[in-house]
């Protein structure tokens, strides 16, 4: 007799999704990662809008990855029009994306994922027995948000980073204040690594994964122009359509990605696995000590990798501020350029993985065509693969199976509301 097991609504994830597993005895008949977030049609509504206001709109695809969307969007526009940025702009953008990682990872690692491993329904309940963990989370989150507020104008949906630079350059005092906060929360970031190194990676979640992440260049980071794929491949970001071949499914407003016919994974695990040799300082030491926690065959490693990235992000933030302060801050205005007909593609790492924006413009610089591919859309097929893997390996109660599946999905840090306004079908 077949039985249908479901998680109607995933909790402690961003957006609305569920799970369905159909079993016949021990045999797995079908699995689905359902997404029932409403569609918002971003690629359609931004048509005819002038490039200057596009990042203000597309950053609203997601609240928790708002700066990732804004930087992906700004980069695509700059690539279309050939905009050259100053070293100061590059440093400020690097600081902003690291701030976003701190804010997002602190929320996910400590407040959404950790309760699974300590046995609580949420961070508030967890705070009764683990108040230090929750206070660490809040201090880290606040620091990430402080970077957002200082550089972008506010925590969610800022506005100060623009095509060609920043509208207003932060003052020396403001950046020094951020630096002090970063130095203060360094132990909180390292504690996240300490906590997660203690949770074993269960064998029931092991399978082959094709990992993809941005090539950050010389040092570990989240901006770049090429994409790395496990197995040693390296592709220019312009080849993204090939890397994320998408298909529409009836049970999901999110299209599912594939590469060479199989699912792919993006996120912290791919970033750390593919570029760990580029880590520096404390994060490098922590990686060496706990490299067994970075298992490319076990997607639950993603939690540990986010914790490791937190240690990197905080230290890197301090370095970037030091570089900005020693160079001296300058109100340099926005780069000059002319809008024209053309197309621009840009990839950045959002907290939960690779994000692509692709725009075409008419001669006035208004959008004629847009394509946006979010990390959770890319992960959707891999999440379904993992649901199947866990269901096949599972022995024991059904309720336990569904719980293990939910913990696995949460480890991807899915951003479901992001995932629903995806690519156009050609």
């Amino acid at each position: 007799m077949t039985r249908r097991l479901t998680v109607d609504m995933l909790t402690r994830v961003e957006g609305h999704g569920g799970v369905e597993v159909v079993l016949d005895g021990d045999e797995v008949k079908d699995v689905k990662f359902n997404i029932f977030e409403g569609p918002r049609f971003f690629e359609s509504i931004i048509k005819t809008v002038n490039y200057e206001k596009i990042p203000d709109m597309t950053r609203r695809i997601c609240a928790i990855c708002t700066a990732s969307h804004s930087l992906a969007s700004i980069g695509a526009i700059e690539n279309a029009f050939g905009v050259e940025n100053t070293p100061q702009t590059e440093l400020l953008r690097d600081l902003l994306i690291h701030g976003e990682m701190i804010e997002s990872h602190a929320l996910h690692v400590y407040m959404l994922a950790l309760p699974d491993f300590l046995g609580y329904p949420d961070a508030i309940a967890m705070s009764a027995d683990h108040i230090d963990a929750v206070k660490n989370a809040l201090a880290l989150k606040k620091t990430g948000n402080m970077i957002h507020t200082t550089l972008s104008g506010r925590e969610v949906h800022g506005m100060n980073e623009r095509v060609g630079g920043f509208s207003k350059i932060p003052t020396e005092e403001e950046l020094t204040k951020v630096k002090k906060m970063l130095e203060k929360v360094q132990p909180a970031a390292e504690l996240a690594v300490e906590l997660f190194k203690g949770f074993d990676l269960p064998a029931y979640n092991e399978s082959d994964n094709v990992l993809m992440a941005i090539d950050p260049g010389e040092r570990f980071g989240y901006l770049g122009t090429h994409v790395l794929v496990s197995g040693g491949e390296r592709h220019p970001q312009e080849d993204y359509m090939k890397l994320t071949n998408e298909k529409v499914y009836r049970h999901s407003y999110a299209k599912h990605s594939s590469y060479n016919g199989g699912p792919i994974m993006v996120g912290a695990l791919p970033r750390v696995h593919l570029s760990h040799d580029k880590l520096t300082g404390t994060a490098r030491e922590l990686y060496k000590e706990h490299s067994d926690m970075v298992d490319p065959r076990n997607t639950l490693s993603n939690n540990f990798c986010q914790a490791l990235e937190l240690a990197h992000d905080v230290e890197r933030g301090v370095e970037t501020i030091d570089a900005l302060l020693s160079d001296g801050l300058e109100e340099e205005g926005l780069a000059e350029f002319e809008a024209h007909e053309g197309r621009g593609i840009n990839a950045v790492e959002a907290p939960r993985g690779l994000l692509y924006h692709d725009y075409s413009f008419d001669e006035d610089g208004c959008i004629t065509k847009a394509n946006i591919i979010t990390p959770t859309a890319q992960n959707a097929a891999n999440i379904e693969k993992d649901i199947r893997v866990i269901a096949v390996n599972h022995v024991g109660e059904d309720a336990e199976l569904m719980n293990d599946i939910e913990v696995m999905i949460r480890a991807y840090d899915p951003c479901i509301s992001c995932s629903v306004h995806l690519v156009r079908l050609r």
């Binding site: 049609f41 002038n50 809040l138 989150k141």
Partner: protein
């Protein structure tokens, strides 16, 4: 007894409930004063039964959203439309007056009607009675905290009835329309943000939605036309966070 509070989301980016989590300094204190019965993004704990105050973010964009909203309304004494999507329909309502939902489904997903349960994005007030609006994309943390404090004391908080221009003048920022010719929406958008964008040298993009008084829109429209912006450009600007505003608001233009 602590008031029973639910935090719900329909279609949107979840940025308004994120603003609650962004109250890092106040969060632990805040949750000690309320009893949270539903907060899908933050907790796996969920209770049935009546709700004293429901915060609902996101717009109604699917049949599922509508069903969910009606259930929440039935359970709740006070229902708050939380953020621009809930108050105005959000950025996804921008093209409500142009084209059809089927056209957009075809455009983005390449499929015909009947495939999904999508609807035109509408504010909560289209379907249920709303007791309080907290506007913004996203909502302001301070305004939200003030609202919660008022509600804990049994009051409804005051709302902003004047435009962003007032706060801009109070801050003595240079006018971005007059000084740099930027298409600022400050004259017709609800205050409460302390004129953040003009403070950064940027034009207001309207994320708090239109002020209650409609009279400014026609003037804004003709002023921007005079500055040399095209009709399509101005409409694209005014509609981003106000897709559902009534025809007359936009200078009586046929749209």
């Amino acid at each position: 007894m602590k008031p029973r509070v639910g935090i719900f989301s329909l279609t949107g980016c979840a940025g308004d409930q994120l603003q609650i989590l962004n109250m890092e300094d106040e969060l632990l204190d805040l949750v000690s004063h309320i009893h949270i019965v539903d907060f899908q993004e933050g907790s796996s704990h969920k209770e049935e039964g009546p709700i004293d105050v429901a915060f609902v973010e996101g717009s109604v964009s699917t049949e599922t959203d509508l069903k969910h909203l009606k259930e929440i309304r039935e359970r709740s004494k006070i229902l708050i439309a939380f953020g621009n999507c809930a108050v105005e329909g959000g950025i996804q309502a921008m093209r409500n007056k142009e084209g059809s939902i089927d056209g957009r489904l075809k455009d983005v997903y390449g499929v015909e009607t009947g495939f999904f349960d999508a609807k035109l994005s509408k504010p909560l007030s289209e379907y249920v009675e709303v007791d309080l609006n907290i506007p913004g994309c996203p909502v302001e943390k301070e305004e939200t905290l003030r609202a919660i404090t008022s509600l804990l004391h049994g009051d409804l908080p005051p709302s902003f009835t004047y435009p962003v221009c007032v706060e801009c003048k109070l801050n003595e920022y240079p006018c971005v329309i007059v000084e740099s010719g930027k298409p600022c929406l400050g004259p017709v958008i609800r205050a409460g943000c302390d004129a953040r964008c003009p403070g950064l040298g940027l034009d207001c993009i309207g994320c708090r939605g239109p002020v209650d008084s409609a009279s400014g829109f026609a003037a804004e429209f003709s002023m921007l036309l005079e500055k040399g912006y095209s009709k399509e450009y101005i409409l694209n600007r005014l509609r981003v966070f106000s897709g559902e505003v009534k025809e007359g608001f936009l200078g009586g233009e046929e749209l």
